[in-house]
């Protein structure tokens, strides 16, 4: 099935859009052969620097590149301002929601979100009840996935409030583009994203525990070099100038978390962890975890370390909660959500389930707790047999699924052997929360490289593009 999608560069109806006009002029002057060469250069740069990711379940291809497309995705200054207002509002609401849900639970008492959705949710951590993180911030780093379907319609597809990844690609994509096409950046004023690591560091330092003496010691906690996002963990630690630690380097010493160094144990004040909640502390969560730090939750509850993002933030980006986000935003900010949600059917509700089963071939059905594009069904692209098989799974455990209409995601051109060709894209801007909210102008544009495909996840054959926010 082909959807009539809105193309962000060349919409069928109105012709070349303004944000792309300068780029288009430049592009027309280029020799196509040179562009193809540049594309190969880009791949070489990525391989050389080792910007790879691991794909689970593929032993041989244990290190793969995320394909990079050299045509930038361009957003005007005005479009960006509107987006950031919506994102800021949403991020405020997410933090307020988390604080409420782990304290007074007023939103449940007000009946705006069903209690059982929280109480029986694995992402809800009872261990966090009554715990107030340093500076009152729960989600320090958020990646909000946004899709566009027309000139004026943007929707939030997903809030990533746990440990959103991909920011290293945003930075490396820009770096690569500047290496490949320095002249473009002289012609077109693009707002910089390069200072993200400094902002991240400042942001983490600002939420240090109250008792920290002097400059806080910050570290990035990685599950290790075999993790699919290891490159990013190392990259961020490096760019921030902080230590990259693993669970085996850490232990609790005198009520603080400390790392084992060549000179003995040294205290850590802020831990940017890229390890899931359940692995964080074997004494509190999964006892078999070797990736975390035994006793870190006690240190945390005593207010002696900042964990970013806080444990238990997953309850805010859970796909079952997602459908309540408009209510959540309104409840905490007192205003209607600036950025809308995609209409969502909760399969746990009998009427919705009935509708979803009847329209399965039109819908995208996702697992409530899944991520990375695994375990989902894209109805229009699936065979009849696949739909039937999925319907069985759905009926067996309806509460495990939500469904959304198949949206005609906007497209952006990519460079193919036959010239430019439109492909579907989404956008993940990165948001930093400390005593203020900061959004780096840009983000990660993911692009489905297969013609007509709507799945942009890198694990499913998606690629990335540099994202330009114009300084206009």
């Amino acid at each position: 099935m082909r959807l009539a999608a809105f193309d962000e560069m060349l919409p069928e109806v109105s012709g070349l859009r303004r944000p792309y006009s300068a780029y288009d002029r430049w592009l027309k002057e280029q020799d196509p052969a040179r562009l193809t060469e540049k594309m190969q250069d880009a791949e070489r740069v990525f391989r050389k620097t080792g910007i790879t990711f691991a794909v689970y379940g593929e032993q041989e291809a244990s290190e793969r590149l995320i394909p990079f497309d050299i045509v930038p995705r361009i957003i005007s200054g005005n479009e960006w301002r509107r987006l950031t207002q919506g994102i800021e509002q949403r991020v405020q609401a997410l933090n307020a929601f988390l604080d409420d849900i782990y304290h007074r639970q007023e939103i449940l008492r007000a009946g705006r979100v069903p209690t059982e959705l929280i109480a029986r949710n694995e992402a809800f951590l009872p261990e966090m009840i009554g715990v107030r993180p340093p500076a009152g911030v729960y989600t320090h780093i958020i990646g909000v996935d946004i899709v566009r379907i027309s000139e004026d319609e943007f929707y939030v597809l997903e809030d990533n409030a746990r440990t959103p990844s991909g920011v290293s690609y945003m930075l490396e994509n820009r770096e690569t583009m500047m290496q490949l096409f320095p002249e473009l950046f002289q012609k077109i004023k693009v707002r910089p994203v390069e200072n993200y690591p400094q902002l991240l560091r400042q942001s983490l330092a600002a939420v240090r525990p109250q008792g920290t003496k002097g400059a806080p010691t910050i570290a990035v906690l990685t599950p290790g070099s075999y993790n699919s996002a290891y490159f990013e963990h190392a990259f961020l630690a490096d760019q921030m100038g902080v230590q990259l630690v693993e669970g085996q380097d850490l232990r609790v010493v005198d009520g603080h978390v400390a790392m084992r160094t060549t000179e003995g144990y040294k205290q850590i004040d802020v831990l940017y962890r890229r390890v899931d909640d359940s692995f964080l502390d074997p004494l509190t969560f999964r006892p078999d975890s070797a990736l975390g730090v035994p006793g870190i939750m006690d240190v945390y509850r005593a207010g002696n370390i900042t964990i970013a993002n806080a444990p238990g933030t997953g309850i805010a980006d859970d796909k079952a909660i997602y459908s309540y986000m408009p209510e959540i935003v309104e409840f905490y900010t007192g205003r209607k959500a600036i950025l809308g949600n995609i209409p969502t059917w909760r399969c746990s509700e009998p009427d919705s389930l009935k509708y979803v089963l009847e329209h399965i071939h039109e819908l995208v059905i996702k697992e409530v707790h899944g991520s990375g594009g695994y375990g989902m069904l894209v109805g229009p692209a699936a065979t009849k047999k696949e739909c039937e098989a999925f319907a069985k799974k759905l009926q067996a455990k309806p509460s495990n699924y939500i469904a959304q209409p198949t949206l005609a995601l906007s497209t952006c051109p990519i460079l193919t052997d036959k010239g430019l060709a439109p492909r579907h894209v989404d956008l993940r801007p990165y948001v930093l929360v400390s005593d203020r909210i900061q959004i780096v102008p840009g983000g990660l544009t993911r692009v489905a490289l297969k013609e007509g495909s709507l799945v942009v996840n890198s694990s499913q054959g998606g690629g990335t593009k540099d994202t330009w926010v114009l300084d206009d």
Binding site: T49, G224, S225, A237, E246, R260, T261
Partner: protein, 313 residues
């Protein structure tokens, strides 16, 4: 201040880079001998394996000491943890782990060496290509060394890296000397004499010193001179004395930086003093093999102490 695990990664990364190159050098020397002295080719290859410390594992897998088998085993067989390919892979895994401690140039040179060798060593090496493969390996490790020396800050990261390099190198030189010397020397009474034997060149070639030897000594290969060169010469970059000069220096930097001396400092100093005071005659009088066996044992001890003292064991 460095994570113990990072110090460990740096140390082993450099040991394995050194080892990857040593294997290529050993095969190079063997190839040279096999080409010039066809009759004893299999003996030569067997002594190459002995020097590499891989003779036992080799014989479990192969029965013939041929160039193809030995080159395959020492260069590309990843079931042999000391093969060039396995060593480069381990070095890269360690580099990946300590990425944040390396300059971009250093990391990229290691990553590129790994990519190039993986491609080159994917298939068994055609004998005709062996010289160019060996060249390529030496070139890749030289590029790593060049990027490393050219871009790394001389701090503790540099110190731990160098400790790995020199502990590995000292071990390698001592083993080559120990194994080859007795294979080559017809009888102990020959020690002082001049030998008109191409085979001596293979010892020197194993440590890339066959040309420089002639700059320092006569053109003749004398067993005492060769031993003197590889053990006591202060300027020869693969001699035991040279290695210990730098091991002591980097340990001293660490001791000064951290304001603390450990057991490893004493061990390194003891060996250095012994090397400085000794003459080649004394060494031969007391027995070269005993000397080298003691040296290898103390060198291993030093490696263990460094790991313990700097909390990366």
């Amino acid at each position: 201040m460095l994570l113990g695990r990072t110090a460990n990664g740096l140390y082993w990364m450099n040991r394995y880079i050194e080892r990857a190159e040593n294997m290529a050098r050993l095969v190079d020397a063997g190839l040279r001998m096999a080409l010039t002295r066809t009759q004893s080719a299999s003996e030569e290859w067997s002594s190459v394996l002995l020097s590499a410390g891989s003779d036992v594992t080799f014989s479990q897998k192969y029965s013939d000491y041929t160039a193809a088998n030995v080159a395959d085993f020492l260069l590309r067989d990843t079931s042999n943890p000391s093969s060039t390919m396995a060593a480069i892979e381990t070095a890269r895994n360690n580099a990946r782990m300590v990425r944040t401690a390396l300059t971009r140039e250093t990391w990229e040179s290691i990553n590129e060496a790994w990519m190039a060798l993986k491609r080159m060593l994917a298939k068994p090496i055609d004998e005709r290509d062996l010289p160019s493969v060996l060249d390529a390996i030496k070139r890749e490790t030289a590029l790593i060394r060049g990027s490393f020396y050219g871009t790394m800050l001389r701090n503790e990261i540099f110190d731990f890296s160098q400790l790995g390099t020199y502990v590995e190198r000292a071990d390698n030189t001592a083993r080559i000397l120990d194994v080859k010397y007795y294979v080559l020397l017809p009888s102990i009474s020959w020690v002082g004499s001049t030998l008109d034997n191409y085979q001596w060149e293979s010892i020197l070639r194993s440590v890339s010193a066959h040309r420089s030897y002639r700059w320092v000594y006569d053109a003749d290969y004398k067993p005492t001179n060769i031993a003197d060169y590889l053990i006591l010469n202060v300027r020869m970059p693969r001699s035991l004395t040279f290695c210990y000069r730098f091991l002591s220096e980097h340990l001293k930097f660490l001791g000064d930086d951290y304001g603390e001396r450990h057991a490893c400092h004493a061990t390194a100093e003891k060996t250095q003093t012994m090397l400085r005071a000794g003459s080649i005659k004394d060494i031969f009088d007391a027995g070269l093999h005993e000397f080298l066996a003691n040296f290898i044992r103390d060198n291993t001890k030093l490696g263990n102490e460094i790991a313990q003292d700097y909390r990366f064991n």
